[in-house]
Amino acid sequence: MRNHRRRGLTALATIASLASVSVLAAACGSDGDDSENDGKVSITVEGWRPGDEQGTIDAVNKLAEEFMKANPDIVVEPVEWEWSAETFSTQLAGDTLPTTFRVPFTDTKGLAERQQIADVTEYVNELPYADEFNPSVLAAATGTDGKIYGLPTDVYGVGLHYNRHLFEEAGLDPDSPPTTWDEVREDADAIAEATGQAGYVQMSANNTGGWMLTTLTYTLGGRLQSEDGTTATVDNPATAEGLQMLHDMRWEDDSMGKNTNFEWGTINEAFAAGKVGMYMSGSDVYNALVTTNQVDPDSYGLAVLPLSDSPDAGVLGGGSVAAVSAKASDEEQAAAVLWNDFYREKKNYDPAAAEADAKVLAESDQPIGTPTLPIFDEPTWQGVQDAIAPYVNVPQDQMSSFREGIFDQNLIPEPSSHTQELYAILDAVVQKVLTDENADIAALLADAQGQAQALLDS
């Protein structure tokens, strides 16, 4: 009897082990190459950001259906995705990256150098507008080897976003936003005094502190790196002036609030919640403020950044490149570029495509008319703006300062070498100034200069 029971248990254990082996085998097995069944090519594409509303998802899915109708050999599956260095490498290692996704200008060259995104020169060159890109924009999508690693699809200039309601509460005119940094400081002080909210806030965490310190430096006529990316110029008078201004606003005026740990997402959240008077971010951030943070459109205002008198003063320009996974097959790469042409690029070039796109977006109440900058030449950009004009649903008159002023400003690209690492070094500098009243700005910059140069020499 005992033996019998034992045999039963052994059998049970054997079954359990076999079952666990097969489960493990299934879990560890490759996902198989099912991308080319029935002669069709299947690709996954960046569709919407985590937290986006249903309307955004519906609009992308609808456009994907249209694309598949026009390209019956391609199956497109839009998925939730947002660029983050943290998830990128994990997804790359685990084979779960979408076939195509957008990468910031700052990261394109590094990813290309490490062969983590695909060289798509041959497919981009087949597009009708391949020769017509604004050369400085196309340069952002070009690797150091001269090959093209994606389509530059959106270009922004940094602007000053402000809360019109807080301006009114503080007795300021929301239709005349500040035009000098001194005025920014005065207005911030007035807002903090009258409303108890932070008058001006600057991002400081997760490399955005460096990004925004670079922007501030540019507006004051400084640079953080030589144009060829070989020499660090972090310790310069403009950066010191910018940091001193932040220090004084934080510690003398107390107009920046007590919480200073903000990055792109959290500052948008705080702004949409009415806790921030003014902040700097890309000119296209209004889209995210609407689809992710449900900002009150009446409260929103966008102005150009104040520039100093220096002839070198300018505004930081950036953008995204629609890149393709290095692990995609040739057919998938070709299909991905076609999709990016249809979904992201053609509407920047062809007024008819722009109008069709705007129509779909309008049906799902998505923001149309947020300020962007030309990817091709200015007449092309203007043609597109005219085509979508009937569908515009964002408060463009509240963005007039930016819309009218941006083309008079000198657009300066981000530092070209080791950009994000440089930003990480600068994050610490900005955080120190915002959290320590006695921070020694000169010493901080001298130290950061050493680190940044060591980075470029490595």
């Binding site: 666990s20 260095a85 943290e86 790359l92």
Partner: protein, 296 residues
């Protein structure tokens, strides 16, 4: 002969019983460890074949100026956690074991923070730690004329703030362990101590603590190993800031692996992980050698 056969059959069935666990452990615990040892001497872009680079990754980590910051911060966290976090559960357990009524309720209250998902707890505390005078903790302190405290917004305050939350979150588990051990203390010994004229503190010192010694030594090393690997709090509260004042060793590992813009430097990340693991293994070994006499 037949007993040999029975024994052989017995060990075969033992092996079969063990197999699922061995497989799961092997695949999800041991294989990653082996992989990380291999990766620590490689450089990979995760697309093409990795390249062996010898000890370059270890050298690069040791030359990183942030490493000493991270080590110092980790030691600071461990020390603070030891000073605040280690005695708290012990005191709570001793008090609770003396409570006659509603002991279950107190155990529940002490254990509740352990049940809350750690990420949720941190997000909740981030809200409590709002540096404005209107923040939750600051308004409470304001009522008694203290503060406002810059909690996470000041390089000097940030680490203690992290330790307070970590202590709150972890104390419950240790309290339960101590409580279980306290039940085994024979009540006669307390009576005897009382007859000998011992007060409450005397009873704790002469009866309770000697009984808990073995457990206390284990929880101490577990706490040291745990705090040396602190990651969640600095990552979610401050991301290592302000000005790297809460950058810990594990957060530096994470930065190498995932926040590196060039798509992940797994070589450096695994190299530093291995160094940390070896240090902790050595530390535990020395610790057990040194304390062997006390724990008997």
């Amino acid at each position: 002969m037949s007993s040999l056969l029975t024994r052989a059959r017995g060990s075969a069935s033992t092996l079969v019983f063990l197999l699922p666990m061995l497989l799961v452990f092997g695949l999800f615990s041991w294989w990653p460890i082996v992989r990380s040892v291999i990766m620590s001497v490689q450089q990979t872009n995760l697309v093409t074949d990795p390249e062996f680079v010898g000890l370059d990754n270890f050298r690069a980590v040791l030359e990183d100026p942030l490493l000493s910051t991270a080590v110092q911060n980790t030691l600071w966290f461990a020390l603070l956690a030891l000073v605040f976090g280690y005695p708290v559960p012990l005191i709570l357990a001793v008090i609770m074991s003396d409570v006659r009524r509603a002991r279950g309720l107190y155990s529940l209250l002490a254990y509740l923070p352990v049940v809350i998902p750690p990420a949720v707890a941190v997000l909740l505390w981030r809200f409590f730690y709002d540096a404005e005078p209107t923040g939750v903790f600051n308004s409470i302190l304001g009522k008694v004329g203290l503060g406002p405290v810059p909690w996470l917004e000041d390089p000097a305050w940030a680490m203690p703030s992290l330790v307070i939350e970590a202590t709150w979150a972890a104390a419950g588990g240790t309290v339960i362990i101590y409580l279980a051990a306290l039940v085994s203390v024979p009540p006669e010994q307390y009576d005897a101590a009382e007859v000998d004229g011992a007060g409450v503190l005397g009873k704790v010192w002469h009866v309770t603590l000697p009984h808990l010694r073995g457990i206390m030594l284990i929880t101490l090393i577990l706490q040291i190993i745990g705090t040396a690997q602190v990651f969640l709090e600095p990552y979610l509260f401050t991301d290592g800031g302000p000005n790297n004042s809460t950058l810990t060793v594990l957060l530096l590992v994470y930065r190498y692996a995932f926040q590196n813009t060039t798509g992940g430097d797994y070589g450096k990340a695994t190299a530093l992980s291995l160094m940390l693991a070896l240090t902790l293994a050595l530390l535990s070994l020395v610790y057990f050698r040194l304390t062997r006499r006390w724990s008997e």
